[in-house]
Amino acid sequence: MIKTAAKKFYVFLIFLFLYAPIATLIVLSFNASKTRAKWGGFTTRWYVSLFRNDAIMNALLNTLTIALIASLTATVIGTIACIAIINMKKKSRAIWMGITNIPMLNADIVTGISLMLLFLSLGLKFGYGTILLSHITFCIPYVILSVMPRMKQFNTSTYEAALDLGAGPVYSFFKVVLPDILPGVLSGFLMAFTMSLDDFIITHFTKGAGVDTLSTKIYTEVKKGIKPEMYALSTLIFVTVLILLLLINKAPADKKQKA
C-alpha cells in the first residue's frame, strides 16, 4: 500500500519537474496582469493581440509553409532514398544508413554553421530559400529512419507479383508498395514536420535579414523584453507539437489494429 503510494508520488514528482515550466507558461499566457508577479484574472487578450501582430503572423506563416514544404519534399526524397538503400547489398546498405544517421546525432549548431558556410560559398542569397533548403536537408534522415523499418518488412515478391500481372514499375509502386509502407511514410512526414517547426539554431544561421520563423522571432522579441504575447505564442507552439506527437504515435498503431 505504502509502496504503491510512494511509486505514484515518485512518478508525480517526475512529471511535476518535467511539466511545471510549461504549466507556468500556459497559466501566464492567460494572466490579465502584465507582470509575472501576480495573478490579475483570466483573459484571452494576449491571444487576440498576438493574432493582430503582423510581424508575428508573418513569422507564423513562414514557419508553417517552410515546415510543410520542407517535410513534404523530405518525405519524397527520403522515401526514394529508402527504395535505393533497400536494394543495395548488405555492406553498402549499412554504410549508407550510417551516413544518413550521422546528421541526426550531429549538434544543430554544427549543422547550422556548416550549412551557412556552404550557402555563402555557393553565393546564395540568404532568406526564405536558404531556410527551406536547410530544413529539407535536416529532415531527410528522420524520414529515412521512419520509412526504413517498413521497407524492410515489405515482401519483395509482392512487388514482383504486381509486375508479373502486367503493371509497370511506377503503377506497382503506387498501387502495391506505397500502401504497405504508408504508415512509415506518414510518421516520417509528421516527424519531419515537427522537427522543422521546432528548429531554431539551424534557422538562425541560415536565415537572412527580414525573414523570420516563429522561433527566431520569439528570440528577437525576448531580447527586447518579454511580452505576454510570447507566452501565448509559446503555448500555441507547445500544443501544436503535442498534437503532432500524438498523431505520430497513433499512425503505426492504427495499422497494427487493421492487420
Binding site: E160, L165, G166, A167, K175, D180, A259
Partner: protein, 358 residues
Amino acid sequence: MNKKLIDLQHITKSFDGQMILDDLNLYIRENEFLTLLGPSGCGKTTTLRILGGFETPDQGHVIFDDQDITKLPPNKRQLNTVFQKYALFTHMTIAENIAFGLKIKNKSKSYINDKIAYALKLVNLEGYGSRMPDSLSGGQQQRIAIARAIVNEPKVLLLDEPLGALDLKLRQDMQYELIRLKNELGITFIYVTHDQEEALTMSDTIVVMNQGYIQQIGSPEKIYNEPENAFVADFIGDSNIIGGTMIEDKLVEILSARFPCVDTGFGTNRPVDVVIRPEDVILSSPANGRLTGTVTHLIFKGVHYEMEVTTPDGYEWLVHSTGMYPVGTQVGIDVDPFNIQIMHKPASEDEEAVKIDE
C-alpha cells in the same frame, strides 16, 4: 507431340562471381507439366526467375513462341507466376487481388466480375471475394494466388515451390488440385520444387538439376527407374549405389558376384556404378541368393520393413520388403535383371564434383 513453346538457349547466370547457371539448354512443350527439381542452390529458382523476367541472363536467349523475350520486362510477358510466399496484396480484398491484372488490361466490369467468379469457383473458394487475404489460411491464400495468376489466361504458369509452406496433408490435396487445374485449363505449368515426391506425382517431365547443371530430363518413371547418374539416383528416393564392373553386355559383377542385367553398350570389363532400388532387392535363404549377407538393422515402416543387410565385404544394402527377417539372420540377395540400372562412372574429379552434391 506438342510444339515447343519455350526454348532456353545457352543460359548462363552468375551472382557476385558465383556461377548459378552454366550454359543451360532446355525446351518446354505446349501443355506440358514440367518440374525443375533439385536441392537448394541448384539454380532451379533462378531459371524460373529468368523465365518470369525478374532476372536477366548474363548470356543466352529465352525464346517464347518463336520470339526472343530475353530482355522483355515481366509486365510484358505472357507468363504468370505463383510465388512461394503467396505475395497477395494485403490491403486489397480477394476480389481486388484477382482483378488486379484484368484492370490493368482495361477489361470491362462485367468481364472482370465473371472472371472473378469463375476463378474462385475453379479453386473451390466461392464466396470469398470480399474477404481480406489475412483472414484466409495458408492453403486458401495459395489458391487465391493461383486464381489471381490464371484469370489473365497466361500461356504458361510458373510456380515457385507454391506448396512449400503448407503442411503434409494440405500439400497432398493441393497436388491433386494442381493436376486437375492443369487439365481443365490446358496451359503449360513450370513447377519448381525440391520435393522429389511432389515432382514424381504431378509432372509430365522432370528436369533434375544440381549446381547449375541439368543432370537428367525425363518422365517421372524414367527418372526413377533409370537414373543417369549417382546424383539423380540418390536424390530421387533411396537407392543402393554400388561400384561394379561391366563384364560384358547384359552381365555385371557386383561385390564379386555376377548378375545378369539388361543394359548393353558399356564395353567389356569397364568400371560402372550400379543402382538398385531398395524395394527391388529380393531376400531369400542363403542358398538361393547370388550374394549372402547378415541382417543388421530392422525397422517397421508401415507399408514395408526397412532392413539393412551387410555383405561380407562390408557393403550395407538398404532393403524394403514386406517379408520380415530378424536381425542376425543369414539371407541370400538377388535382383531381377530388369531392376539393375547401370550408369557410367564419372570420368574425372571435375565431373564427379558436378554430379554429386557436396
